[in-house]
Structures are given as structure tokens and as C-alpha cells.
């Protein structure tokens, strides 16, 4: 649910990074934060446990430039990946404009990926969204690790709908901005489409 202010000439959108525990959602945000010009970003907030696991959410406000004389600002959020934090995950999906699903490419995390994707679909439905209709991209993260599944194997399970997908290595930044750009584009296309004449 975007927020448009005609007075301050701003368009604000909300993007949520979703995925199983330890798949690299926070790492994606940290990389974006570390590689964006200071005037284009706000503070990054992490509500994490003592062991650095996301407890409620991470938050990063980001400016992308102007469209039709309006400043565009994206609020990036992550959800806690651990299964038992589902109540928090649901809350963070409220008012979302676009979703990035960060999958963990390691073979032994396949079940966790599928479980998280099912949970995403369910939680979106609870908020009145349909995963097949909202702006949505997939990132196969951790491609730099050994013991990973080939993308050809991941795709039918995690991206049967054929949305834009990217290989990622969030720790060194590969694929991070490509993923962000893709979801930002889809969000604007959807805004235009939903209001188009």
C-alpha cells in the first residue's frame, strides 16, 4: 500500500524480504545499507536477539530518485525467519507493496525454503493479498557455498510461477542490487497498472 504525498511530492513504498531463518535477508539489507550513498539512505534498524537473529524486523529507508517530479522512497523490511515468530511476520506484511523471497540454496535447507514459501502465501492471504498477483521476485542466495542445489532444481519448487529470479551471494553483494531493482520496477509497474486508465 503505497503512500503518496502531493504536498511534499513523495511516493513511499514498502518492500518485505521474506525467507527461512538464516537465509540472508538481513545480510541483503546490510549490503544495501553499506553500499548506498549517505544522502540516499536513513538509519538501518535491527530489532535482533542477543545472538543477532531478527526478533521483530530490520528496517531500512532508501531514496531511489524522482519520478514525475515526485521523490521515490522505499522502506525495506525483513521478517524474522524462525518458524515460531509467525505472529511478527504477519504484522510486517501489512501494507506491503512488493515481496522478495530469499531462498537458501543449500541442499539441506530445501525443506525450510518450501515451508517458508508456503507460510508467505498463507500470511499474505490472511492480509488479503495473493502471492501470484503482487510484485514478487525470488533470490537464490548463498550461491558461493558448497553443497548447494542447482537453480534448475530450485526453480520448480520455489518459483513455479516464473517471476524474476536472481542468484545471490548477499555477503559479497552479488545479486543484491539486481534483486532490489527488479522488485522496485515491479512495484512501480503495479502502481501504474492499478491506476492506469
Amino acid at each position: 500500500m503505497s503512500f503518496i504525498n502531493y504536498s511534499s511530492r513523495e511516493i513511499n513504498c514498502k518492500i518485505v524480504y521474506y525467507g527461512p531463518g538464516l537465509c540472508g535477508k538481513t545480510t541483503n539489507l546490510k549490503y544495501i545499507f553499506g553500499n548506498t550513498a549517505p544522502d540516499a539512505k536513513g538509519k538501518m534498524i535491527s530489532l535482533a536477539t542477543e545472538t543477532d537473529r531478527t526478533l521483530f524486523f530490520d528496517f531500512l529507508p532508501l531514496s531511489l530518485g524522482e519520478i514525475q517530479g515526485f521523490r521515490t522512497r522505499f522502506h525495506l523490511y525483513t521478517v524474522p525467519g524462525q518458524v515460531f515468530y509467525n505472529a511478527s511476520r504477519k504484522l510486517i506484511l501489512k501494507g506491503v507493496d512488493g515481496v522478495v523471497f530469499v531462498a537458501d540454496s543449500q541442499i539441506d535447507r530445501m525443506e525450510a525454503n518450501i515451508e517458508s514459501l508456503d507460510n508467505l502465501r498463507e500470511n499474505l492471504a490472511d492480509q488479503g493479498y495473493d502471492l501470484d498477483r503482487i510484485p514478487y521476485v525470488v533470490q537464490y542466495n548463498k550461491r558461493d557455498l558448497p553443497e548447494i542445489a542447482p537453480v534448475e532444481e530450485l526453480r520448480p519448487l520455489l518459483n513455479p510461477g516464473g517471476v524474476p529470479e536472481f542468484e545471490g551471494e548477499a555477503t559479497n553483494g552479488r545479486g543484491v542490487f539486481a534483486t532490489l531493482k527488479a522488485i522496485a520496477k515491479l512495484v512501480f509497474m503495479e502502481l501504474k497498472r492499478s491506476r492506469g486508465t
Binding site: M1, S2, F3, I4, N5, Y6, S7, S8, I11, N12, K14, G42, K43, I45, L47, F56, F57, F59, P61, L64, G65, I67, Q68, F70, T72, H75, A87, S88, K90, L91, I92, K94, G95, D97, Q127, G128, Y129, R133, I134, K181, A184, K185, F188, M189, E190, L191, K192, S194, R195, G196, T197
Partner: protein
């Protein structure tokens, strides 16, 4: 997409800002701000130069969402008011008309009773403004900026 987009037009923006300014004065508060339930800052009044209002907005909305989650578990519709007391600053959080959040930060120069009283009055005024906004946003052409976005605009965002 679920829910409607939030749109603020100049006329209503000025009215909202005026309510915030007046509330800050009448409640003797340091800062007053309004956030939508998704964490977007709508208006801020007062000594905000040293405050990270964007983060405050997002965390307040998160807080309200979490409290709303607790309310649901207790079969309550919502907990419309929250108050946090600090050593120097206090924060009063009020859900207005189930759609926006009115936040008042104040110190010892004010009191919870006064803030509550003034917030109640301001909430009524804000409700009227947001009602008219909802009506206005429904009219055709209200979101013209979105209709005018071109594919080129979107491409250009990433070519800088």
C-alpha cells in the same frame, strides 16, 4: 491489491499540520507526529531536527501492530492508547479512527492528563480530515501521478 493507497493532498496536509502544531502548543509537548499504520510518516511538528522521524515512524507503527496482535489474542478490537514513561521524555501513542497513529512526546513541562485531554480533541479533528481525504482519493484522477508514470521513468530511476 489489498487496501487502498494512502494519498495526502495539499489542502488536507495543511489541515493535518495545523492540528499537529496546535496540539503541540496546547499540550505543551515537545514533538507531535502522525504516522500511518504501515509506518509512513505523515506529519511532524516540533523539535524534530535531532530526531530520526523516519525510524520513529516505523518503530511506532511496529509497536502499534504488535500491540494490536496482543489485543486480538485477548479478543479485544484494539488497544487504542499506549503510554511509555521515561526519565526525561514520555511518549503517548493514540490510534485515530483505526487508521493513523497520533504520537505525542512530552517532558515534565506537561502531564499525562493534559496530553490525554488535548489528544482527544485533536483526534476528532483529525478524523474529519482523514474522512474527507478518503472521499477525495476515490475521485477519478486523484492519483494522476501514478497514471502518468512511463516505462522510461521507471528505467531512468536505475540509470543514475
Amino acid at each position: 491489491m489489498a487496501g487502498a493507497d494512502t494519498v495526502i493532498f495539499e489542502e488536507e496536509f495543511a489541515k493535518i499540520n495545523a492540528v499537529c502544531d496546535r496540539l503541540r502548543g496546547e499540550a505543551n509537548a515537545l514533538v507531535v507526529f502522525i504516522v500511518d499504520k504501515n509506518g509512513q510518516l505523515i506529519s511532524a511538528s516540533g523539535e524534530t531536527e535531532h530526531l530520526d522521524t523516519t525510524s520513529l515512524a516505523s518503530l511506532t507503527a511496529g509497536n502499534v501492530a504488535a500491540t494490536g496482535g496482543i489485543a486480538k489474542l485477548l479478543k479485544e478490537k484494539e488497544f487504542a492508547t499506549q503510554f511509555h514513561e521515561g526519565e526525561k521524555a514520555n511518549i503517548h501513542i493514540q490510534i485515530v479512527g483505526q487508521r493513523v497513529i497520533l504520537v505525542v512526546i512530552f517532558d515534565t513541562r506537561s502531564s499525562l492528563g493534559l496530553v490525554r485531554l488535548r489528544v482527544r480533541k485533536a483526534s476528532e479533528e483529525l478524523n474529519k480530515v482523514f474522512d474527507s481525504l478518503v472521499e477525495k482519493a476515490k475521485k477519478p484522477g486523484a492519483m494522476s501521478v501514478l497514471e502518468e508514470i512511463t516505462d522510461e521513468d521507471i528505467e531512468n530511476l536505475f540509470n543514475e
